[in-house]
């Protein structure tokens, strides 16, 4: 990240190259990128290997999981400008749905997945509708409280295992030759990657349409957005619910891999770390957020050989980076000019949320 000679901006060059590319090049580059992502577990490169922990497991958790969650939180924090410090709660709700239904009923992973997502979204509506009338700091405090409440309720409810959590969560059924077992994290990684790609697609489409424009307006000036006729509460709740859905899916997948969960896995640190991924990567820019999450999740594993001081080294690296690049590793493109990706409202009307 040689940013000393300012002005040369790799990010903008890459973005301009992309915008100027013909369709065939965009398609083939996208395929190449996706293929590399799917092939990652087979890479055996000393540079990215993680001595001290299994690289394939690291790819699933924390790297893949953080990337997915950061994409979800980016809808809330990056696109709509709502500071949510309790994001881990939705992840916990997804994970507990998988754990409870998986151990107490005969439902399998694929049946529980939409239920877990639905519960997380419902929690998003219930939390969002009253609290999204609050602004800034107040919203942050309420969401922070919500995150802790979910964890504390789990600790104190004996019916769901209390502080010991739930063990013996079933794995997903096999898909063709891919067997989901505790020994092989690769199928889980591919499953997670597939959902992540799906989410990227959904978020990008939303962002280019009316909801995206509404979120943009709300983030820049809530009052003025209302004056323009934007139902700000509705779109804020939607952002919240979409973010919750992503975390809920993440939670279900996570629980089905880890096989046993305890409430303390879902503590405040996770919310803060996911938020750090979003800010560190480049708030509002989905590619930046992905890169940020991948780096923040991967680095502590890569330097695990440092054992105790590694978190300190990691912290120092964060502080240095935020000084060098205060807008994040890969910030949103500074738009002096109209971005052709943003169709005029005329073309994008069909993406409306009813």
């Amino acid at each position: 990240m040689a940013d000393k000679k300012h002005k040369f901006n790799l990010r903008d060059h890459a973005a301009d190259f992309w915008d100027a590319s013909p369709r065939w090049r965009k398609v083939s580059l996208s395929f190449l990128f996706i293929a590399i992502c799917y092939a990652l577990p087979f890479l055996n490169n000393p540079l990215i290997n993680t001595p001290g922990s299994d690289f394939q497991s690291v790819l699933f958790y924390p790297v893949g999981m953080y990337v997915l969650m950061a994409i979800g939180l980016n809808i809330v924090v990056g696109k709509s400008g709502l500071l949510d410090l309790g994001y881990v709660a939705f992840f916990a709700i997804g994970a507990y749905t998988m754990a409870i239904l998986g151990t107490k009923t005969s439902l399998n992973f694929w049946e529980i997945l939409p239920i877990g997502m639905g519960f997380a979204m419902l929690a998003g509506v219930l939390l969002g509708t009253p609290t999204l009338r609050l602004r800034g700091d107040y919203l942050a405090i309420v969401t922070l409280g919500f995150g802790e409440i979910v964890r504390i309720v789990a600790v104190n409810t004996d019916a769901i295992g209390g502080p010991r959590g739930i063990a013996g969560i079933p794995t997903p059924p096999d898909i063709f030759n891919a067997k989901f077992t505790i020994l092989d994290p690769k199928p889980y990684y591919w499953l997670l990657l597939t959902f992540t790609l799906l989410m990227i697609w959904v978020v990008r489409r939303m962002a280019a349409r009316r909801p995206g424009r509404a979120w943009d307006a709300i983030r820049q000036d809530d009052d003025v957005a209302q004056l323009m006729g934007v139902n700000t509460l509705k779109y804020k709740v939607w952002a919240f619910v979409l973010g919750a859905a992503v975390a809920g899916v993440g939670g279900v997948i996570y629980a089905s891999q880890i096989l046993s969960i305890v409430p303390d896995q879902f503590n405040l640190n996770v919310s803060i770390l996911i938020l750090a991924c979003v800010v560190f990567g480049g708030i509002g820019n989905v590619w930046g957020v992905i890169l940020g999450a991948a780096l923040l999740a991967f680095t502590p594993e890569r330097i695990r050989f440092l054992s105790q001081p590694r978190i300190l080294v990691f912290g120092v690296a964060l502080v240095v980076m935020m000084n060098l690049r205060p807008d994040g590793v890969l910030p949103k493109k500074k738009r002096e000019h109209f971005d052709p990706d943003w169709h005029t409202i005329e073309e994008s009307g069909e993406g409306e949320i009813k």
Partner: protein, 239 residues
């Protein structure tokens, strides 16, 4: 499209900012509210557009009491505001800002080009800068953008909050010329101004506000010659 405010009270916490104001804006008029800082002018506009809650009283627009209606629905009725301090979206381009003005219009596909042309005709400067981010415009250009964006909604009543604030004298005259022009196309205007001189020259009628009360209501031209008003707001009364 008549806008009538009846005995309006508005509170900020326990402090009463508007203490029983009644005003009327008839169709086709330019009505101005003048007064010093803290008189309640901006609060009046924010309450009419729905950003502040009404404590008691009525806001009657086109025969309907809209005082309980949320702000985004009032925008749909044809009440459009260019907010104080310009209030544009700094990260959106000029064109995107203008498109936002039409956010909720059902027929926006058909109208878009027509209304963009209309706004660009009034403010050719905005056409030149249509792809530039709103935040990089000068103060005068931002004011043009705020007014242009409000016009995109095809308002019946246009609420203007201090359009002259922080602008150079030449730009002020320019903006007020355009306000008069807009009014001539049939748009009713409620104008809040500290620049009482310009406002009274352009408006048909005026209300003078002092700490939450209307202290005077008259034809604008009469107020321009009223010694008390001249002394208090035009700075030319004391010889």
């Amino acid at each position: 499209m008549r806008l009538e405010i009846k005995d309006l009270h508005v509170h900020y916490g326990k402090i009463e900012a508007i203490k029983g104001i009644s005003i009327v804006v008839n169709e086709g008029e330019i009505v101005t509210l003048i007064g010093a800082n803290g008189a309640g002018k901006t609060t009046m506009l924010k309450t009419i557009s729905g950003l502040r809650k009404v404590s008691s009283g009525q806001i009657i627009f086109n025969g309907e009491d809209i005082s309980k209606m949320p702000a985004h629905k009032r925008a749909d009725l044809g009440l459009s505001q260019a907010p104080e301090g310009r209030g544009i979206f700094p990260g959106m381009s000029v064109l995107e800002n203008l498109e936002m003005g039409k956010y909720n219009r059902k027929d926006r596909k058909i109208e878009m080009k027509e209304d963009l042309d209309k706004v660009y005709h009034l403010f050719p400067r905005l056409l030149e800068r249509s792809k530039q981010a709103g935040g990089t415009l000068s103060g005068g250009e931002q004011q043009m953008l705020a007014i242009g964006r409000a016009l995109m909604a095809r308002p019946k009543v246009l609420l203007l909050d201090e359009p002259s604030m922080g602008l150079a004298p030449l730009m002020i005259a320019n903006i007020f010329n355009i306000i008069t022009e807009i009014n001539k196309t049939g748009v009713t205007i409620l104008l809040v101004e500290q620049n009482a001189q310009q406002a009274l020259q352009r408006a048909h009628r005026a209300y003078v506000l002092e700490v939450g009360h209307v202290v005077k209501e008259a034809k604008a031209s009469d107020l321009l010659n009223d010694p008390a008003v001249r002394a208090a707001y035009l700075g030319t009364g004391a010889h």
